[in-house]
Symmetry: none
Subunit: 417 residues, 2 copies
């Protein structure tokens, strides 16, 4: 029996009473939707259901009747409210049995943590008849993949975002690409320092010349992801090349998973140069972004989080009367922070950040969002002044990424100093 599926569309089902009870958005659907969209698969339906076996089963069987692809997140853990496995068994008439290999993997995982597998934890080795096990490299609950009588493919993934994402990228997307046959071609670019509207204005007539082409933009503070789709790979290549020409130095990578910290780090690593940072309002975020990159120890030496005024004086040797006179959030302080970080660390380059992240602490002269960013190389140091929009978290992310973007442009010979 094969149902009339909506072609190249997926249904996304999130399981979890907590999503509904706490009024939390389904962020897994957002990330899965983007990953699918970049591969030419549209999301045709999104559903969030509580941990209720009957309700999950009802929604799953409906979704699988109408969509060729159903991705379910959550409800695969060890606790009694994790009933997604049981719901799948009920929805698709695929009774559960304990899988010896899954059980062995669970036991090994618990042993590695110095713990024993409990009877509750053992439920995670239950597998619906005919399902394939998707190993979970970063958590306990494995994922599952099964075909339904209506011809749909159903993927079950843990609800923990980083586990879901890793399994989605490493295991699910390749299976989906095989399933769909010739995928639409797509190319990604990431750009810094432009708004969605600016990118669209630069690229819109590029699309007009290519009727099958489409453009998706995903914006976050300072970084924008650009996805260009076309009916075949050569056309996608051509579009990406032309888009990169038009956007110029704003483009920093063609890897959508990669951030400004990696772009700057790649250049430093190739040149054998190094970086140190001194940050105030970002409180460690700049260092944290940099050290998210595995291998960053090759080019990142150290950082100072000089949050109090006294620490700017004691740790970086900035004159107390200067901080007093100019203020901690000032061009002069940012300049001395960058110079001290470079000198004390012996790094080739240094970045400094001092600003007002809010929500309090703003004045008419120095409002919330005001940030000074210093970049020192050798004896040269240039400070730029910025007024970033948004809440505390957004201002801090803008500040840290803008610092990294200034470094990247300078290393490319395109920016100061």
């Amino acid at each position: 029996v094969s149902a009339a599926h909506v072609p190249r569309q997926a249904a996304l089902v999130a399981v979890g009473t907590e999503l509904l009870a706490d009024g939390r958005p389904d962020t897994n659907a957002v990330s899965i939707g983007r990953l699918l969209s970049a591969r030419g698969v549209a999301t045709g339906l999104r559903i969030q259901v509580p941990d209720d076996e009957e309700e999950i089963a009802r929604m799953l069987s409906q979704a699988a009747e109408r969509f060729p692809l159903v991705i379910v997140t959550g409800g695969l853990g060890p606790t009694v409210d994790d009933v997604t496995r049981e719901a799948v068994a009920r929805a698709f008439g695929a009774p559960l049995s304990e899988d010896p290999a899954a059980l062995a993997a669970l036991e090994a995982g618990m042993r590695a943590r110095g713990r024993a597998l409990t009877p509750a934890g053992r439920r995670q080795a239950l597998v619906p008849r005919g399902a394939e096990i998707l190993p979970n490299p970063v958590g306990t609950a494995p994922g599952l993949c099964l075909g339904t009588a209506s011809g749909a493919r159903v993927f079950l993934l843990p609800g923990v975002p980083h586990e879901m994402q890793r399994m989605m990228v490493e295991q699910v997307l390749t299976r989906i690409e095989e399933m769909l046959g010739a995928p639409l071609a797509w190319r990604g670019l990431k750009a810094a320092g432009l708004t969605e509207v600016q990118v669209q204005e630069h690229l819109i007539d590029l699309l007009a010349s290519s009727p099958s082409a489409s453009l998706t933009l995903l914006a976050s503070p300072m970084e924008i992801s650009i996805i260009l789709r076309a009916s075949e790979p050569r056309e996608a290549d051509r579009l990406a090349r032309r888009a990169a020409e038009r956007l110029g130095e704003a483009v920093f990578t063609d890897d959508l998973e990669s951030g400004l910290e990696s772009a700057a780090g790649r250049i430093l690593a190739v040149r054998g140069e190094t970086l140190a940072v001194a940050e105030s309002c970002t409180g460690g975020l700049l260092g944290e972004l940099i050290t998210r990159v595995p291998g960053s120890s090759q080019w990142f030496l150290q950082g100072w989080v000089t949050y109090s005024n006294a620490s700017k004086v004691s740790a970086l040797g900035i004159a107390a009367d200067l901080v007093e006179r100019e203020g901690a959030v000032s061009e002069a302080t940012a300049e001395l922070m960058a110079q001290a970080a470079r000198r004390l660390s012996g790094a080739s380059h240094s970045l400094s950040i001092s600003g007002i992240a809010g929500p309090d602490g703003g004045t008419p002269e120095k409002p919330v969002g005001l940030v000074f960013i210093g970049l020192a190389t050798g004896d040269a140091c240039v400070v730029t002044r910025h007024l970033f929009p948004g809440d505390r978290e957004t201002v801090r992310l803008f500040a840290a990424r803008t610092a990294l973007n200034r470094l990247r442009l300078a290393l490319d010979g395109r920016g100061a100093p």
Copy 2:
């Protein structure tokens, strides 16, 4: 005909191809869910559908069969892809006709903006048979409210968030409160250092004694959120009190939005004490978590991100031969990092973190996930050794939160030193 409705539960349906195509979360469902939850109405199902009349109609009639309350947002505007009205007419057999009062209101609204009502705009005056019109005080498209044959009440609201919210608060909630009786109650707790399974084992028989009670657990590295629901507020209070007694020192707040950094910071602020940090593998994450808290400048002085071995020597004065002999990831190095951070900053307390976050850099003796955490107060310093599971990001988050948890316990007089 009256269907078997799930009592006191609502289904939320968001209409809009853009939500699905751009991978945007349904933020209207989040705000509606919270408004309903505060009135004891649980969200039993959330659905996001594209602007597809047939799909919307299918989902609406299903939702109204099973839930006494259905709230639909989006698809009420003037453009051709706004088909929610048509879908409602189809789902509930309530043909559309133009309502003279709605038409007059639309015309008046357009006149006030100096514009004429277009034929497309006129569609917004179409009303399903038997529906009540909910005036839109801040936009053009009116909302609608209708009863279904299955006994459900369906509310239709514009998708524009501020229009939806205003109409929800001013018009929909009062109608819902009339429809319903006494609200459900819930209480939240957050605990550190226990797994989901451990929390469940501690609390499961508590629930057995209270038939209407339920438990939801949300786990993330080191922090677990516990939500207890009961049929009335006094019972929810009693459950939360008993749960907190059983979990003891693991519980650090009853505010689900608050993290370990706030718990530690609150105690420091009250005592007028201060904190400094020295971190290696977390690269700034510990400082970043701490300074996410607005007002943390009251108790957080400064941090050192000593990523390279040389920086541990130059910035913190640790003897080079000790780092050489014991290794940067060692009890001795973590102890000296914490002591130097406290001494150099003059803070009351300091935390240090040194470990191997991976994916590379592990050895059989010092595997990925091995982290030493130091806590110094006065001249006392205690270092603990941990082996955290997961990928680079997870190990780093475990390390930073474990450090904060050790500080919190020590400040509470429950942990070392």
